[in-house]
């Protein structure tokens, strides 16, 4: 066979020499390598105490942004849900009443906005699709572990950006309201009403 590069080396089974057969020189060589590593600087990061900086392009959990007056930016246009390759986003739109002007930026807003974190592949297409700069994958929380599948459906309680603290540190997420997904919910899950992906004939 013609080789594509000139780097190919022919190999043939070869008898081991005496030095190779008694193993000891090779073993000693290996031991010098390992003892060098014994004294080397350790690469471990003691995680909960010391955290590594996230890369600038890190795609973390989603955050639904607020504008500078603290109003939610999302207008429930549904473009993020449409662009999502994993069909992880669902929402229910509602019309803003005059009394809610300080809460929502646009006339239409998302009453329910849910992302199923088990479906999401963190591709960031929702972020790119959003015309209102409302959704970003910037939360630096590590994707969580849970005992309950229901807990992976993140609603607005966890997605909407919290008001910035004095240090401007609070970004998204927050403690989970345990009752929310177990029948005591005030807002019904959009997943319950929607015939989702399975029934969609494309």
């Amino acid at each position: 066979m013609q080789s594509l590069t000139n780097r190919a080396k022919p190999v043939a089974p070869k008898e081991m020499t005496f030095m190779e057969r008694i193993y000891l020189p090779a073993i000693l060589k290996g031991m010098t390598v390992t003892i060098k590593h014994f004294f080397m600087k350790k690469v471990t990061i003691r995680y909960p105490e010391i955290k590594k900086m996230f890369s600038k392009t890190y795609r973390g959990l989603h955050v639904l942004k607020k504008d500078e007056q603290g109003r939610e930016r999302c207008t429930a246009c549904g473009l993020c849900a449409l662009s999502c390759p994993a069909e992880a986003i669902t929402m229910t739109a509602a019309e803003r009443t005059p009394a809610e002007k300080h809460l929502y930026k646009e006339e239409k807003y998302a009453a329910v906005y849910e992302i199923n974190m088990l479906r999401c592949i963190f591709c960031g297409l929702c972020e790119e699709a959003c015309p209102k700069e409302a959704i970003f994958l910037t939360s630096e929380e590590i994707a969580p572990a849970n005992f309950d599948r229901g807990d992976f459906i993140y609603g607005k309680d966890k997605l909407v950006e919290k008001v910035h603290g004095p240090q401007g540190k609070v970004r998204g997420g927050g403690p989970l309201d345990k009752n929310y997904y177990h029948g005591n919910a005030q807002v019904t899950s959009a997943f319950q009403n929607l015939e989702l992906s399975n029934n969609l004939k494309v």
Binding site: I22, Y23, L24, I27, G30, M31, V33, T34, I35, H37, F38, F39, M40, K41, K42, V43, T44, R46
Partner: protein
């Protein structure tokens, strides 16, 4: 007088037993720490400062684990296996001389439980018993992987015991005694045995790796092929006993290596420094422990360096390389003794 002797002996046994257990316990910790150092990690560091309570946590965990005994296992033998492994592991330490003697309240206390004149033979007897624990446990669990592991352990130990015994014969020829104490004293008067017996030392070292079932000869518990090897079916503290026995064995092997080839409790100028006898004894014990810890470190160092041998390589090394080499070593030693005197 008789009563004092018995009490002293029992106290000594208890102390040595305690030291072996403590060393074995902290060997598990050291193993994990060293393993991580060799791999550029820092290892367990959560339980206490630098994780020094890790062995306690491990032990506690093993105690509280669910104990599972397979339905078709032979219950008596299933329990006997780990007990036997533990028992034989602890028995060898009886003949190892830990120092000369201490004088406490005008009583001379030998730092050796039993100075029997066939110490070496005793060690061999006990060591070869050690494989029964593994065999019985592996067979009783009624599991093919456990049985295969047990068979491997048996054949491996038998093969390497021959080379080990042959390498010690050369030591016996040089010192002219089978008692471990005499050997230590002889090395104190002359030089470390490793100077006279470099080849024998190498053979003995390799064989002790095989006898303790440590890497690169840990085929009896080879995870890639045999799940857990002979202790596949074991859980809870019975598993703990097997693992613990391995570490005690390692400790004892290191003690044997130090005693046979590195002077035991003797150290340079031990009789010329003008120290009191008690001081010399304690220093000797410290030196012996230092040597032992070095060998334990060596065991771990090798484990985290070399991959496991293949079974045919293991057998070829044992029968075709080590045994002939050991015999050659005996012949060379004999020639040397004949021509240069003892």
């Amino acid at each position: 007088m008789e009563i004092t002797v018995i009490i002293v002996k029992f106290a000594l046994i208890a102390i040595i037993f305690g030291i072996s257990l403590l060393t074995a316990m902290y060997s598990t910790y050291a193993e994990r720490k060293f393993a991580s150092f060799f791999q550029d990690r820092i290892g367990p560091d959560r339980a206490g400062p630098w994780g020094i309570f890790q062995p306690l946590a491990d032990g506690g965990k093993l105690f509280f684990k669910e104990e599972i005994i397979p339905t078709n296992a032979n219950l008596f033998l299933f329990v006997l296996g780990p007990s036997l492994a533990m028992l034989t592991a602890c028995m060898t330490s009886a003949v190892i001389p830990w120092g000369t003697y201490l004088t406490i309240f005008d009583t001379q206390v030998d730092l050796q439980v039993a100075d029997i004149n066939v110490g070496i033979l005793y060690v061999f007897g006990v060591v070869s018993l050690g494989v029964y624990g593994i065999m019985v446990g592996g067979w009783a669990s009624n599991n093919k992987f456990a049985l295969l592991g047990a068979i491997r352990a048996a054949s491996q130990n038998i093969s390497y015991e021959i080379a080990m015994g042959l390498s010690i014969i050369a030591v016996v020829m040089v010192t002219g005694s089978l008692s471990l104490k005499d050997m230590a004293v002889w090395q104190g008067q002359n030089a470390w045995m490793v100077v006279y017996q470099p080849l024998g030392f190498l053979i003995f070292l390799i064989c002790s790796f095989a006898e303790t079932n440590r890497a690169p000869f840990d085929l009896p518990e080879c995870e890639t092929e045999l799940v857990g090897g002979y202790h596949t079916e074991y859980s809870s503290m019975k598993l703990g006993f097997f693992l613990f026995a391995e570490y005690i064995n390692m400790f004892i092997s290191s003690a044997m290596l130090s005693t046979l080839y590195f002077g035991g409790y003797t150290f340079p100028f031990m009789n010329d420094l003008g120290l009191s006898q008690n001081m010399v004894s304690i220093l000797g014990l410290v030196f012996l422990l230092g040597k032992i810890f070095f060998f334990i470190f060596l065991f771990m160092w090798v484990r985290w360096t070399i991959p496991r041998f293949r079974y045919d390589q293991l057998m070829r090394l044992g029968w075709q390389v080590l045994i002939p080499l050991a015999i050659i070593n005996i012949v060379l030693t004999g020639i040397a003794i004949t021509f240069f005197g003892s």
